[in-house]
């Protein structure tokens, strides 16, 4: 085991034809490539990535995984995703470091408790472990919580979801890349897509800055850049706002938080990484952006917010803050679709800040979609058509504040 320092994935020469081309070397793209090869024997696959794999949201998210979404369309997908971590760890022979610590989401009002009750009961109805706790039980779980009436928004209770936790996001990138490459997938880093070609209504090629690749299947899995690429390459317009989302970590510390803690009212989460840092974040500036620069406003806001309900954290220091991009849809649910505007063109985007936790299972089903050409049942509710059919998903109960339409 030691002493072997082989490349995790090799740089292969780029061919002029592949059975499938995936734009975007993030988690969704790599997972799709992996499952195309693993489940469908489709190994003649290229993943093209403008920077290096995991450069985007895959390496910038805070690695929280959970399956306590609001709607029944979303729940099974996330549940399967959650169940996949240990499976993939074994299968990829790469420690994804799934830390199954559970997630505690705090409620700071009667209305929030009501919303949680729907979430908790919906999860239970689908056989997912999720529980409603009162404030005292929350504090037993997380002794650092201040459950007095001192905070601006006192804690009314919480939703505890034991199966959730955190996963080492970089490990997933590297593990999937290695797994895919082993099965023959080509990973082309430093390669930009510059166009998608359509012939007779069918996807026919992908142009890159290293030349044209002919292919009958193209997946647009470029994360935050998906919408812009779809627009530029195919004139496709999508209901997507790309926002900058920020996160930060404190200096490392011996174990203090044993669960992921989050709060809607304060709009933040906090969890302790395996390295001991307290990772916290969630804020998004509510206007479209392709910058990953951070703001003074937010790091200050975050300190104010997180120390309201975890006051002991005031004795810690922020060490690093960073930004990533989240492609938000009006209903906070993703778009997974295919064959429009061209047959053989597939789309997997609009994940907002749920893209990490769902990545592997999405890859599995998008691979099935691409291999068979038939949309798997579980993905059908996520079609783009839902927006013009007035069927928003209802993942968010309240109005979302980043579009002008509310």
């Amino acid at each position: 085991m030691l002493g072997r320092f082989k490349r995790l994935w090799d740089a292969k020469p780029m061919k002029t034809h592949y059975d499938a081309v995936i734009i975007g070397g993030g988690l969704h793209g790599l997972a799709t490539a992996y499952f195309l090869a693993r489940n469908h024997g489709l190994t003649d696959v290229a993943v093209i990535e403008k920077r290096y794999i995991g450069f985007g949201a895959a390496g910038r998210n805070t690695a929280i995984v959970r399956a306590n979404q609001r709607t029944q369309e979303n729940l099974p997908l996330y549940k399967e995703a959650l169940d996949l971590w240990p499976v993939l760890t074994r299968e990829l022979d790469f420690n994804l470091m799934f830390y199954n610590c559970g997630n505690l989401n705090l409620a700071h009002s009667e209305a929030a408790l009501k919303a949680m009750r729907l979430q908790v009961a919906s999860a239970q109805f689908q056989g997912i472990d999720s529980r409603l706790l009162d404030a005292k039980e929350c504090r037993e779980l997380v002794p650092a919580l201040d459950i007095s009436d001192r905070p601006r928004y006192p804690i009314f209770g919480g939703m505890f979801h034991p199966p959730g936790g955190i996963v080492r996001h970089d490990a997933v990138v590297w593990g999937l890349a290695r797994g895919a490459a082993k099965r023959g997938v080509h990973i082309h880093q430093g390669t930009s897509a510059t166009g998608i070609g359509v012939e007779g209504g069918k996807a026919a090629w992908v142009d890159t800055d290293r030349g044209r690749i002919r292919t009958p299947r193209v997946l647009n899995a470029a994360g935050a850049y998906s919408a812009g690429l779809a627009n530029r390459f195919l004139g496709q317009r999508l209901p997507i706002s790309v926002l900058t989302i920020q996160a930060m970590v404190t200096q490392p510390l011996k174990p203090l938080l044993h669960h992921v803690v989050s709060s809607g009212a304060y709009h933040c989460y906090a969890n302790q990484t395996l390295k001991g840092e307290i990772a916290t974040g969630a804020h998004m500036d509510p206007w479209p952006n392709y910058t990953t620069q951070t703001t003074a406003h937010y790091i200050k806001h975050q300190a104010e917010a997180v120390t309201e309900f975890l006051p002991c954290l005031k004795g810690l220091k922020f060490m690093r803050t960073w930004g990533g991009l989240a492609d938000m849809t009006p209903d906070m649910a993703p778009i997974m679709d295919g064959h429009s505007p061209a047959e053989g063109y597939y789309l997997d985007c609009g994940w907002g800040y749920f893209g990490f936790k769902s990545s592997t299972v999405t890859g599995k089903y998008m691979a099935q979609y691409m291999a068979t050409g038939e949309c798997p049942e579980i993905l059908k509710p996520f079609a783009l058509k839902r927006f013009e059919e007035h069927r928003l998903m209802g993942e968010t109960a309240a109005l979302v504040d980043y579009t002008a339409n509310n």
């Binding site: 490349r7 928004y153 060490m319 960073w322």
Partner: protein
Amino acid sequence: MNRLKHLPTLRITPGAARSFTYGKHTFEGLQGDTVATALFANGVRVFGRSLKYHRPRGLYSLDGECSNTLMEVDGVPNVRTETTPLTAGIRVAAQNVMGRPELDLLGVLDAFSWAMPAGFYYRMFHRPARVWPLAIQQIRKAAGLGRLSPDFRMPGRFDEIYPAADVCVLGGGPAGLSAALAAAERGLRVILLEARPWLGGAFEYRAADDGDGVALHRKARDLAAAVAARPEIRVFTQAPAIGVYSDGQVTAFQRGGPDQSFDERYIEIRAAAVVVATGCGERPLLFEHNERPGVMQPACAQRLARTWGLLAGTEAVFSVGHDLGLEAAVDLFDLGLKVAAVADIREDGQDPTLVKALAQRNIPLLKGWVARKAHGGNRVTGATLTSVNGRFHRRLTCDLLAAAAGLTPATGPLTLAQSQLAFDPHTGYFLPRTLPKGLQAAGRLLGLESWAAVTASGRRAGLQAAADAGADCQAAIRESEAALRDLPGAVRGSKFVIAPGCGRKAFICFDEDTTVKNVDQAMAMGFDVPELIKRFTSAGTGPGQGGIPGHNLPLYVAQTGLSPDAHPRPTTARPPLVPTLLATYAGAQHDMSKRTPLHDLQVACGGRMERVGVWTRARRFTDDPRCRTEILNVRTNVGLLDASTLGKFLIFGPDALKALQRVYVSDMARMTPGRAKYSAMCNDDGCITDDGVVVQTAENDYYFTTSTARAGVTVEWFRYHTRYDGWCYHLVNLTDAYGVLNLAGPKAREVLSRVTTADVSNAAFPYMGYREMAIHGVPVRALRLGFVGELSYELHVPSSYMPALWDLLMEAGRLEGIRPFGLEAQNALRMEKGHLIIGSESEQRTTLHDVGLGFLWQREKADQRLVGAAALMQTERQPGRLKLVGFKMADPSGPPPRDGSPIVDARIRGYVCTARYSFTLKEPVGLALVEDGLAQEGARLAIYEDGCQGQLTHAVVTPYPFYDPEGRRLRQ
């Protein structure tokens, strides 16, 4: 430990002792000490243990670039003792130690470092799977530095300020000082930030001179005094910049103390121009055991002596690559340190004066030599030097190995400001290739070293910043540039060198125990750019961030040739540049919420106040969470509700009606004077966003109310949806200017008639009527509405009269049994009446049709391109939507289902919005959103409550309103 005395550069006050505790010891330091220098003075050499291998670590630099000297101080973990002033009585403890720092039981881990190569955790502990949960707990315990109690409460006073300036200068060395003076001379307001407690930068402790006989420390202090004398310059010392953003935004924090009004404060500056003059640090030298206690940077040893009077050892070996290193050796020799040898990476190019000075002192200078290994454990006992070509070795005895590869510029602020840096082979620095507008760089970070060049560069940058800030000083800028050209330019830097055969214990990142070998391993696995190596090996992600590895990692990666980056690229710096307490960022943390004019009166009546959106409101007035008394009193007598949070607006002007038509679904042209019109607003999805009443008060003149939640966005909403039209109307938000009392209950009329002479009879003031009247001379807009289902009057009065009106009505209603009621009672009352609250009975995707208010939409109205019209048409008969229904329980003796409970069959079909036991109807009633297939009267609803374990309860869809469906009580 004896201190050097009578040096003109000392910053300690001899005789001013400060005692403190370290572990079980009580130590004494001096005023002016940092915690680290005080510990050092008391003989402490091992300050803590490293993260992974538990290696002993000591004082290395004095500006806190690494975690070596992070300690727990008064319960706060990870305190940078090198930059923390010593105060009397503090308690200091070492971190990450099992036992004592000098004898750490986990120190044995160092022997097993071979078993922990780069990224080992990705390749271990997961086979077999059952090992992993156990391994996690061990990994967590081993990881992290410092401890924090969950009950810890940060003591101290934290503040925040937001000063503005024309020019903000980062760094109080001669370049920064000169820049500040130059800008101030142009009459501009300047803010200068300096991390250390004093000004002067890298010059204020140097006894050398520039050949003119005046010691540098003297010059530095004179310049600092000149800056202090300028009223235009606001100097913040002990204030490191932590963030530099676009548009001249700079953040910092400042350490205070007992003499100030704060212990630490957050500073956020907006300046028209920014000058970065943060100077250089020393670039760590890579060799075996390059972080043993006793290995320190030459400037560290020199400043210990010059500033704090402490000799860092008795006999030293120097391994340097820069003239300042040679100067430190000479200076420390003169202060009493024995110097066995000085190795210099450079074959030539040394300052001849320094070479001569070394020779005069019989200190051997080994040109083209470098340290290969430090010997010893808890303390350095010797050093092996080698010629750069690896052919010759010498082992020397020493207890101090002063080592640095040269200098490295403190470019963090430039990177944060989006300046592009490029590697410069002459200096060996990452130098700014482009500077964004409004940003200037000056001084040593450009490679300059002489006093004259550094100050001239500062002056030029200050003038350019002044010009960026609008001053007219082009001529002066040209002069300053000419002056700078005549002075010595950037100094040649030393090559990047690692002594041959090094790597296994040559630490590139101290904080994460990342060795040169780990970097090799990562590259072999395909991680070939510095950012990926950082992620895989953790180098540069520890408490000191890029402080130690920031420069060496890219150089090393480029040199190996394995990376596509043949030209070294700097790693990313991210805010905060100096780790900053959350307490400091959080600052004063003022709690702000809006209070209604009746806040205090309601509290006096026993009101339980709660945050609701931006407001603080009364939830209830008794201990009973179900509010039985409050509810029944409204149904039988009369209650008083503070509804001041309702949105209240005036709209007037020639196009006011058009604007109303655009956003309200009803035909607002069909209004009757003196009558209120109830209507709703939708968004473009046809989803309901607001409801309220509108009254026409005169021609082109309307008054309307919105829900509390929408009050803040209503003006924006109107203006947004009419932004292309150029209509002329005024929209005035009176929400805060007016308060509202809702006087509700069958006896409301008696109470109201006691306080006004206006005719409030049913005939004169009917249901849905609007009247302007006077109550004791106070102008009142009165609306006869019935949200809670009873005869009620909504009285809108100027906020300042609200307390008086409350008192009047409470007094007037005494006989009728008037009592206040709160939000919870209102919620139950309105629900019985089947009135909805948007957000409670609707969600984002709920249309006007879905909640049964489709009748409000008057589609035939003159088309004003109503917001939501298209969606209202398209969804009107759409199947499969969630519809609002009323329900009663199949078993009326059971409790009501809890709000939010799903309604299920084989799948989820909807959920309970609001359900309450109705004290009026003596059974539970509720409202729910269910799929249209279940929305028919009599449909049976199966409710799945959380924790029910599959035991469903059942309800039956029932028409609503449940209470007074004919609406007689409203009209009585």
